[in-house]
Structure formats: C-alpha cells, structure tokens
Symmetry: C2
Subunit: 323 residues, 2 copies
Amino acid sequence: MARKAFSEYSIIDFIKKMFPQTGNILPDYDDAWGCVLNRKHLVFAGDMLVETTDIPPFMTIRQMGFKSFTVSVSDIASKGLAPTYYYLILGLPRGFGWGRFKKLVEGWRDAVSFYGGTLMGGDTNESSCVTISVIVLSLSNKLPIPRSGGKLGDIVAVTGTFGETYVGFRLMRSLDRLPGFLRKRVLRKICRPVARLREGIALNGVAAACTDSSDGLAVSLYNLIHGTGKGILVERLPVAEGLEEASRILRAPFSQMVFYGGEEFELVTVIPKEKWGTAVKRVEHAGGSLIPIGRIIKRKGVWYRREDGRTVRVLRRGWEHLK
Amino acid sequence: MARKAFSEYSIIDFIKKMFPQTGNILPDYDDAWGCVLNRKHLVFAGDMLVETTDIPPFMTIRQMGFKSFTVSVSDIASKGLAPTYYYLILGLPRGFGWGRFKKLVEGWRDAVSFYGGTLMGGDTNESSCVTISVIVLSLSNKLPIPRSGGKLGDIVAVTGTFGETYVGFRLMRSLDRLPGFLRKRVLRKICRPVARLREGIALNGVAAACTDSSDGLAVSLYNLIHGTGKGILVERLPVAEGLEEASRILRAPFSQMVFYGGEEFELVTVIPKEKWGTAVKRVEHAGGSLIPIGRIIKRKGVWYRREDGRTVRVLRRGWEHLK
C-alpha cells in the first residue's frame, strides 16, 4: 500500500484518527471547532503566521501584525460569528528589539480596533523566527455556519473577486512588470488582507455553508461539498478587473488565476435559492457584496463551464503547508 | 530615561499597557486567563514549545510531544482546575516526515490519556523548526486559584523537591560526570516532566494562591506575592536528595540549585494556617505531598534564612525568554 505523502491534510487526517472527537457542534475538518455551553455557543479558531513562509518580503511589520489577526478572524467570520476574545502565542527571535516589536503591536491594535473583541492574554517565547498564533474565541447565542452543506440548486457565491494574489505570489520579486494601478491593488491585497467579518455575520441564518478562501478558491469549493455527495458547477468566474496584462506575463488564463491563488480571505458560501434575495440584501447592508458564481449540482466534484461551453474539472489544488 | 531591556516580562508589560483587559476573573500577569459564562468559569492557558530553545538534545520526540502538553496543563493545574479541551497549533519544518511525526503524536496521546480532556482541534503550519502550542481550556463550576495572595503567617508550600533540573541544564552535555542514580533522576525530570494536576485540583478551595515553578522557584515565590505588598521567608529548602556530588562539580550551594533551576513544574502555593491540615490531607489523598518551606511575612521581597541563621535576599532571577 502506498504511503500517504507527508503534508498538512494527511497530517490532520492522522491526528483525527488518533484523537476521535466528541462534543464538536461543527463537522470534522471545519475551519473552527465549537461546543455548547449553557445555551451559548463557544467557537474557536486559531492560525499561525510564520515569518519565513507566510510573510512576503515587501510586507511591513505592522502589516504582519494585522495579518496575524486576519487569518484567524477570517475563520471565525466564515462561521458567521464575531470574535469575542483573542489569545496570543508569540515566538520571537533573540534580538528582535523594541523598534520592530512596537510596530508589530501597532498592527495588532489596528486589528483589534478594526475587528472588535478583547485581547485577553497570551504567552511569549523565544523562537528562531517570528511566529504569531492568534486564537479567536467567539461566544454567541447563534449557531456557527458549517463549512459544508446545501441542497441541489442552491447558489454558490463569493464576497469578492479573485486573481490578484495569484499574480502577486507568482511575481513576488518582479512586481514592477505590472501596470502601476494593478501593482498597487496586488500589494494592498497581499499586504493588508481583510477578513470579511461583517459579511460573515450577515450570512448567519441564511447561508447553508460557508468557508474562507485562505487556501484558494478551488480548495474552498471542494470544502463546501465535502461529505455531501454533491458537486458544484461554476458558471461565472469572479475575476478581478484589469488582470489582462498579468495574464499575458504569467501565461495563465483567468480561470487559473481565480481558482488557484490563495490568501484572499473572501468568503465562499452556499445560499438556498429561496433565501438568495435576503442574503444579498443583508450582505449589502453590511457594506459588502455577494457575487453568485455557480450552483450545487448532482455530479460530484467541482466543475467549471468555460465561455466556449465546455465543462472542465477544477482541480483540488491550492496552498497546502509542508507539500 | 533608560529604556527597558527587550525581554519576555518587559514585552508583556508593554502589551498589557497597550491592551487594557476587561472581564478577566484572574489578576493581571496570572498564569492563565478566565471569564464567567453563565455561572461556569472558562479558564484558558497556553504555552509554546520551541524545538531549538526548549528541547534538550537527549529528549526523544515522543517525550517532546508529552512535554508540549505538560507546560500548558501545568498552568491550568496551578489554577486548581482540570483541562477540558485542548487546541493545538503546530509548526513543522518541511521534510519532518511520518516517522518522527508518529512519535510526536504518540507523546500527545500519552499526555491526553494521562491528563484527561479532549483534543478538539488545531491548525498545522510550516515553520523553520518544530513549534507546538497547546492551548488548554477548562470549563468548571469552581473558581480558579489566583497566582498571588495570602495573609501574614500563611504557609508557603511546594509539591516536590528542587535542584535536579538546575543540575541537568548546567551539565547538559556532560551528564556522565554525575553518579548513575542522579543522572537517571535528572534525565527523567527533564525529559518527562509531569504537571501536578491532581495536586492542583486538590488545592482548589484551600489554597490562597498558587503558581507553577516553570521559570524557577525564586520567580514563583516573587509571583506569589506580586501586588500584595507582603513578603516570603523561606525557612526550609525543598532540596532533592543526593545532590552533594553535583553541588561539588558545579560549585553551587544547594540554595542556588533550588531557587534558580526552572522547568520543574512543581506547584508553589500559599495555604492559610487554619487550612494547612486539610490541604495536606487532600493533596496526600490525591497521591502527592505538600512540603512547607516558609511563610508570608510583612517585610517585602523573598528571603531565605540560612542554616547559619543569617537571612539573605533571594534574587528575582530565573528563566526568562529573550534575555
């Protein structure tokens, strides 16, 4: 029997097998974990930002501080919940120094005042590079939106367009090849990613399923149907405007830039048809937008109907640690 | 004005100033953080184990897995509470591989079956060295024991003896200089540290204050009186047996080995005089022992009355990250 490659997902599978879960109100493999506590729901998410693998060279320390909160808040936002408390686990290299540390804390302050919630405590350690783990805890009367679900015909939608991070990560060290307006947008998207918190909260009660696109849209779509036995047909690409020049430079079609980027932190959600109007209104009222891109279908897997009418399979490929 | 050195404690001070806390049922600077939730108490602690700074060369991967839980469980134990849920944030270097990973998971399983509680979820990342953050969450009707407190005459006690880790960390690469029986004990203490969980739970309801000695006994004693305006007089050294030879090799008196070790994970607690008998009985019933080492006094600071009758100040010195 072939041995599974050592990668993020196979590791998680192994841990899950070794530690059967009990009491989780969210499905296995969800972006968060939750339990019921005296009629309240206690939902947790946590993510780790590692300087050497998650921080592009042109990002400032303050932006790194902000992003360290965004990655975890995005998980909670995708559950339709707001952050109540944050717990911080920090690893800093010896000699990091006050100058950089104060900028990091400024980024955290930006994030806490932007997303709300209270930083309640943490732990400081020495490590070989900067690592920041933010654990977000949400206390709520509301139930979290599960990561997967939906019935035939339900609408698959996203809260923003895709493509810029694909361009940015692939042209990391030669961004000057891009037109000025696009370079600016790419830099902003990568350096100051924002969790769709208000949109997520607006979706609670109407969405059948929700996740965030931190590992890329393709992976998110597969996650939405995980365990449902159904599939998704993408009929409209949510492609960011003005990517023509980048597409030429990278020799990548729009579909590739949209499906296989990652770190966008857009929400990817399933909305029952009968609730579509309400969902759009609620998200717009929250200051965002909901873009329909396809629907739940019977045929398993994720499919994309191209402009020429041909339907092709979307690969389950995206950012995976350790691969 | 002199600028404060960049170190663990000054960093924490800075973060606390920048993020005023609200709703914490434990005092500032405590080993854990807690809030009230519908008459239940939700208490959190988390610690990060970093391969390059926290793992001695002779420790196995499985032992590292066990220790990653011990460091966080010890914080919860010092609050007199049991772990309910664990959340794991993992950073692994590329190419870590299944062989070592399975041993790591065995260590986690050892820990979860030993300490109880449920591993509820986590997050896996790529990093330059192994980092394991275990967040422990305790749900309980009981209140946590605060880190500092106690009145004049209260008894200061510990759950075990000290000295072996001091010897081990200083003779890290020349342990063969120690007598065989001592080398074994030192290795066991360093490689398989155990949180005093049952002792901590037994102390809940009788102890006025409690902390663990992960940063050394001296620091723990200072932490017990932090903000109380009182002091501690140590009248009896809780020194481990058989350290004579090590004392000669290291040219260190027993007091130094006892006060300035660290990573012992013994509980250091303040017991009101009138509850001493009950406390001893409860801890012994839990399978442990409670060793009186001194008492709360009026004179600020931590003091040690030597065998020759002279009283000397114990320095607030111990393990501090980044220093």
